[in-house]
Symmetry: C2
Subunit: 307 residues, 2 copies
């Protein structure tokens, strides 16, 4: 297999794109694709201050790397969740984020859940109904809260996350199998900051396959944490990813088609304007000032307010 | 495992419904469920004349059996497609439909595609672009045309087909993976006859698992054709069914949840009214008088009009 651009030996063959590339051309192609989607979905410009949520994984560190290469002003945000899981998960991922920032001359902001709220994610989960079965719901809520607050208080124009195509299609499949109107209507490359206090959220890697992001991180020599979060075992998202991987294996391109056709149908007006039940329900949480659709305090402040 | 109704040995355990039943109670339960959905989706009443499209397979013959047991006036329609496939597929399925009708004292109407249009489905497929890869598109178009015409000309109030939950969810998954607005918006247990010349179409088995329909046919002693149509090998619908079977194996009830949540979301106004691009485009075909969205003659008349 040869690189279609230079005829050298290909380092990667992307069947879903019918495209084989050598290492150098692949490492150029991924940022060019990212730039294309940043523009296509009007995510941000070179003038904007971007905050990248980094977890220490391949996607978010690669995104930070790509944004720097493309000339964007992007700081990092690491949220210390206090997850050990027998492998020192949070410690190791924080170390990798800090090393990446240092070696690239980038600024990393760190928020420790344990230091700030007195309890780590596993501790919060043990105490709350939301975390009863798995800490993932507590973790998601906490991360969304902290990401929005850090971006707002730090004066950033936009918060970028490393969600790749596999993440997005797994979410889309889950939202579709359960037909959750609010989630379906809102899912997309950009979540607009349509209420005061909300920061714009964007996913520049939303159209790039997970496998290609892993190849990018490896070929760029980015040191990242290989392990999934120990709590992710048996999660819905991993289950849906496997299902979509089976589909993709039979029909290369099925994932990107699923996602792009969804965006296209949405843009063409498939969904009714009033289909989002949470629309217009947001108000400021009296405790933290962040927007919430819950009556009274937001779900995060209720969770962290000790009994 | 015991029958939840009488404590006798269960003949079937339906994990998706958390319900185990003995033979007798299962053979009562399936018609009761069917009756429930006929009422819920307002399909037809005891006064209506129903035409059941029968293929000789387990679903359509069982549906005919169930409708007779429930006291409905239901004639059968068999469409002779002229498919042999080395197993005498059409001959055998016609024989089974005729025997079922005779033994149950029911009226069967037979339309032979070959006798009526001079060419069987395999012959039509060889000659047309639509049938180039597989005859399935030609077959689907032909069946839809003949079913509607036979129901309209025979003075029936409604046409019933044997589509089961697995058929419906496979179609829904295909429509979802490709986000085809018109198909998504129109899919449901009832297709209204909202244009002159169109006959109302209903699917009384749409919420019953394929596996349960097979059990019903076997336990009722209905003789049906076990073979799939020889042209169905490698079809999208079979591929999607396998994918959903994998999902169902991990999460019993996933199929029924997928379908019912879809219907609920649709009823709650998820889709925009204008999302169906073919809405209001139908007019009468100048050749056969049946409604069509194509300009001029309908796709069927164009296909069967010899060059």
């Amino acid at each position: 297999m040869k690189c279609v651009k230079c005829g050298q030996k290909a380092a990667i063959n992307m069947r879903h794109h019918k495209l084989a590339l050598c290492k150098d051309h692949f490492l150029e192609w991924i940022p060019a694709q990212t730039q294309r989607f940043i523009e296509k979905y009007r995510m941000f410009s070179l003038q904007d201050k971007v905050l990248v949520a980094v977890s220490g994984g391949k996607d978010s560190l690669s995104l930070w790397d790509i944004l720097q290469r493309l000339g964007y002003q992007a700081d990092g945000l690491y949220i210390g969740l206090g997850i050990d899981g027998g492998i020192g998960y949070s410690n190791e991922s924080q170390r990798l984020c800090e090393e990446f920032a240092k070696s690239h001359g980038l600024r990393l902001r760190v928020v420790s859940v344990g230091a700030e709220f007195g309890e780590t994610i596993p501790e919060l989960s043990l105490r709350t109904i939301r975390g009863k079965e798995k800490p993932c719901a507590v973790c998601g809520l906490t991360k969304r809260h902290i990401m929005n607050r850090a971006a707002r208080d730090g004066g950033y124009d936009v918060l970028a996350t490393g969600h790749n195509l596999d993440d997005e299609t797994a979410t889309l499949l889950g939202n579709t199998l359960n037909w959750i109107p609010g989630y379906l209507v809102r899912q997309g490359p950009v979540l607009e900051a349509d209420k005061p206090g909300l920061v714009r959220k964007v996913k520049p890697l939303c159209r790039i396959y997970e496998r290609d992001m892993a190849a990018y991180a490896i070929l760029r020599g980015i040191e990242y944490i290989y392990e999934e979060c120990p709590h992710a075992v048996g999660s819905n998202s991993i289950f849906y990813k496997e299902l979509l991987n089976n589909l993709e294996a039979e029909r290369p391109g099925a994932k990107i088609n699923f996602y792009v056709a969804f965006l296209q149908a949405k843009e063409n007006g498939l969904f009714a304007a009033q289909a989002d039940p949470d629309l217009d329900k947001l108000h400021a949480c009296p405790s933290c000032g962040q927007p919430t659709s819950a009556p009274g305090m937001c779900a995060f402040c209720r969770m962290t307010a000790k009994a």
